[in-house]
Amino acid sequence: MKMLKTLGLLLGFSLVSSLAQAGEGLKWYSDGSVDLITYQDREVIHLSKDQLGTMFGKGKQPFKGKKIAITVNNSGPKGGISGPLYRLRPAWEELTGAKLEIVEMPLAEQLSKTMFDLRMGSNQYDGFIEGAWYMGEYVTPGYIIPIDDYIADPGFPQWDPDWFPPSLREIHQWDGKYYAVLNDSDGQVLYWRQDILGSKEWQTRYKRDTGKDMPHPPQTWQDVIDIAKYFDGKNWDDNDPDPDDGIVMHFRVNEQGMFHFMSLSASFVVMGGDTVDRGTNNYWFDPDTMEPLINQPGHVRALETLYELSQSGPAAQAAWDLGTAWDWFLRGKSIFVFSWGDVGSLVQDESRSKIKGKLGASVLPGSYEVYDMNKNRWVRMDKPNIAGNTTGGSWQGVISAKSKNPEVVYSLYALMATEPVSMWNVNRGWTGVDPGVQIHFLPPVGTASVMGYLKEDFHERDLFYYLDAYHKNFFADTMLPYLRINGTEEYWRALDQNLSETMIGRMTPQEALDSTYKEWQSITNRRGKARQLKQYQQSIGYRH
């Protein structure tokens, strides 16, 4: 009966809304401000006249008759990254007079298909919502255009690049120029079950059983290992009668497993400082010789740590993809998970999560010992070395150099990046757009309103942990440099395969990273060492 009622309601609703939304994407006010009305759900986003840009206004449709095609991940009208495009489409089309074609592509194939199109000259698409690591592939052959002029132009919807922390600014630029517009901000933070780790009962038990205080919140990866080991195999969660795990990770090969290693190893490898050189603010290659640094002692010890940590997780995780691993945490079967902002918002969705209101989060823990690649020795710090990361996609809009309507494309991206629309995106978890810039965080570090999040059903305590963790992550003093040069996908996949072999015990960490070193050398040679070196120097801002 309930099912029939739901069915009837849903059918009725979609019928009514599909009738009602015909043609109505905007509502103008006399002061020049406007309401954007989203597709289907008909939510209202209010933009002031200034935020809208001088090109637009009632009756003004500056791009009438034009058509653009944008490629994006295959998540449909209600899924991550692509969803917002569908929602804003009617409003944008009415604003500009142009037509938007949303070309969805399977996530794993987006780079291939777009590069194919560009290389073969078929030019079917005007813009791409790319993952940040695609940029090297697009920029170096001149397939995408810089957008500094558009950003400065008051005619377009207004967004402020100063909202970016340096870490995120970097991945929207190449060699000092902007190529991508603010959209999503990805990075991995540590999540845990605050209701368990924060409970007096468990803390007492921990002390009793191990003789030590529970290192909560964890400051180092060793703390995480100790806690995870303790809880692994015990049934500390009453959502089901089976024993639970200490941690869960998504190690399925050729997917997102290598990001775990990157984020964790950052604190063992990246030494902060004011300069950039081989051993300072560096991770991937020697900036003078392009020699891979992936098998340096810091990286190796990090992999050993990761492996030890993984032993407190289910053995099956070696084959688990993102959603499957998160499901384990959301069901209450793991104390820890370290992954993207989607976890925080999924926890709020009670149709997927059993742990709403029980979340704790922080920037990833660090390491007391960091390997100095200038002095070639281990250095012990007074405080754990914490490194933030921007690992992941940070899906961002770029404009094809072959597009006949680049300004039309930019107007779409800019509209999505205006403060009201950007806030609308990050308030809602399903959009896949995660918070990362100043306007997304709560005062005193940001300017967002807490009500915006709470209205979308974010549990208050979870929210504070979540935003605090991400703020500390993106604004950290020391950051893991993001690899974006030509061939990043190839370098990462070589690493990923060897990491997977390590996780299943077929290779030792040293062997895996040594093998990666060799593979990276051949990749560099095949692509041309001089070219790769120059790009790498540009991407990390190395001046010699």
């Binding site: 053995a315 099956a316 084959a319």
Partner: protein
């Protein structure tokens, strides 16, 4: 006979010309590309046989060859025998025969891309269909040997109907009198199978082997979505290896080189098998009108 001469070309030319038109350029362009270092962003550089020598030294390529060989050998053998058995079973009258036949053929149409995802949940180790039902914790996807086995199982599930269909069609062509004659001499079903059915099926067996092997060597969708080539590289079959090189890293020269090496090996196999058919069936091929 001039009439026969004209007719035979009329019958065969449309298909031949079509295939020529659509495959000659791709084949030779692909071959040409295999002599280059392709990058998608800079000019392709001519490197002669560089991609081929690279394949000889690439341990990951060797791994893919071995994995593919195991997969092909194990998979095709099982599917051949199973397909034949089921065809023999279904060839007999029984209740609901057409429904059962339809059910048996179904897997062939399941989109392999989706089948990989589907079986991911079936093989889910912390529960799922199999482990949940049997109450065990078999590491179907997280250990190398079981992962390869899982891929073989799914492939068998999907492709046994292929063998089944071809054998069933061939069985339909065996004249009743042969069975009737045999039944006069013996009632042993095994003997009838061995002396009547199997000889008739031999050309079909060879055909099925040829077709299944050529398809199996190219297997892609199932390992792509079920195990993504893992864990590690335990199920990274050749086509996945080439796909990664070409589509992900834009190293199309290398992907082509590897593919041509595969081509040569399989063609050698085909030539040798084909010779065998001609010998056995010199009588059944109609030579002239």
């Amino acid at each position: 006979m001039r009439r026969a001469a004209r007719v035979k070309w009329i019958f065969i030319l449309p298909a031949s010309l079509w295939v020529l038109a659509f495959t000659v350029f791709p084949f030779f362009y692909g071959l040409y590309l295999s002599l280059f270092n392709v990058q998608f962003g800079v000019e392709d550089q001519f490197i002669g046989l560089g991609n081929y020598t690279r394949a000889f030294e690439d341990s990951r390529a060797h791994n893919s060859v071995i994995i593919t060989l195991i997969f092909v050998f194990a998979g095709v053998s099982i599917q051949l025998v199973l397909g034949m058995l089921v065809a023999l079973l279904v060839n007999r009258p029984m209740p609901f025969r057409s429904v059962l036949r339809a059910l048996i053929t179904l897997p062939l149409f399941a989109t392999p891309i989706a089948v990989g995802f589907l079986f991911f949940t079936i093989f889910y180790e912390e529960g799922g269909l199999i482990n949940g039902l049997l109450g065990v914790k078999i590491p179907w996807l997280s250990t190398p040997h079981f992962a390869l086995l899982s891929v073989i199982i799914v492939d068998t599930w999907q492709w046994t109907p292929f063998c089944f269909l071809l054998f069933l069609a061939a069985l339909q062509g065996i004249p009743e009198e042969y069975y009737e004659a045999a039944a006069l001499e013996t009632t042993n079903n095994w003997k009838i199978f061995w002396h009547v059915t199997l000889p008739f099926l031999q050309p079909t067996v060879i055909l099925v082997i040829l077709l299944r092997v050529t398809e199996s060597v190219k297997v892609f969708d199932i390992p792509y979505t079920l195990t993504t080539g893992g864990p590690g590289v335990a199920t990274q079959v050749l086509s996945m290896f080439a796909y990664r090189a070409g589509m992900r890293f834009f190293d199309f020269g290398y992907a082509s080189a590897i593919s041509f090496m595969v081509f040569i090996i399989v063609m050698i196999m085909i030539f040798s098998l084909f010779g065998r058919i001609r010998q056995s069936f010199a009588g059944s091929e109609r030579e002239q009108r």
